[in-house]
Amino acid sequence: MILFFSIALKTYCMNKLLQFSSITGKVIMALAGVFLVTFLGVHLGINLLLLSNDGGRSFSVAAEFMSSNPLIRIFEIVLFAGFLVHIVLGLVVSRQNRASRPVGYVVTNRTETSFLSKYMLHSGIVVLIFLALHFSDYYFVKIGLVAPPEGIGPHDFYAMTLHLFSSTWYALFYIFCFALLGLHLNHAIQSAFQTMGWNHTRYMGAVKVAGTIYSIAISLGFMVIPLYFILFR
């Protein structure tokens, strides 16, 4: 059933999306990406409340606000759409790119250019795996699809987080995923500017620096939380 659904979705997407011009597809992907990048900042802001020494009170208040405010409920749908568009287009574009060089080179390319820019699909897939895990750990628990861990209520996100980070392996995997997300964002932010056509000698340098600072801030910000729980709890 799931297989059938995924094949149907893929065929539909390929047929529809292939009619897009390459630039239109990329612009939509960039815009969805910019939206997701902004969302990450908000998410990090709430997560950092985990570090405040009040037994998770402020974090729970913020989490409760996010899951009850009607405006944010609507925004959530937009957010899921943003994820879906970015991921599906990413996969479609990567597939087209692979098809455009059916016979590869014997010697791998040695062009001196940004190494990680060639591995956006790979870092993206790691982030996607994390996203799936994150959904089953929190969102599916919240909506009642997955049972919460024993003794924890389905809306007690603070306790769930403590429970997850009590496993060092989980915490290390979390850190690994956010390191890759940081590398993904480092290329993505300046790349989105280029795709939108906003590359100008006057400010592109500043865009690159700001993008790197933002991606480091996001990935380090998320990484600090499990580190704090491993080291100090």
Binding site: S22, I23, A99, R101, M196
Partner: protein, 257 residues
Amino acid sequence: MNYTLKIWRQKSAKERGEMVSYQVSDISAEISFFEMLDILNQQLIAEGGDPVAFDHDCREGICGTCSLYINGRPHGPVRGVTTCQLHMRSFSDGEVIHIEPWRSKAFPVVRDLVVDRSALDLIIQAGGYVSVNSGGIPDANTIPVPKHHADTAFDAAACIGCGACVAACPNAAAMLFVSAKVSHLSLLPQGRAEAVKRVQKMVARMDELGFGNCSNTYACEVECPKLISVTNIARMNREFLSAKLFSEKEKIVRDSI
């Protein structure tokens, strides 16, 4: 100097190819890469073998005919030069040199190192021109062109259409080539008139021909023998978007009596 060459040999588009090893010896460091290949070919002919087919024409870096993917880099290890302007002093004695054809779905191999790059011509035919004869040399300043527009257009017009950008791109995208053509025409008043149609037609043709999508790795800019900048790609994206979003619909004029 002595070199071991590993060269892609393929009899025709339909036959399978493979890398074949050759030795060349007593090569002067001051000769060009193609002169070295000429020596190899003379050697092969003398032995009764089949000379290696490769594209070349002006041998002074301006025609865009030469190609070759040398040791993992289009046009070899030196930045801002075509293969014909590459000299053997850029390689160390005893080095193993791998030589492959450009690889892209849109550039099928014809024989050995020769690929068919007519896909680039097809993109030009889709709109890379000015439709009307723009006349002889006008009096100075009758058509005002800001100096920086003239300079930027000239930098973009330096593109010789060799296809190194496609060869270098991990996605075999032709964005640098197309954007250079779009930019050089749209920055000048004679080309500006058709800019809105041109960018849409050229991008559509590029997509049809099976080139990949740009993922902004900027490998093209690094390997371009004419150092065309990726700011041209941003300009093309800008022009394409504004053409799609804001261009005026053409009025259909009916004859009225």
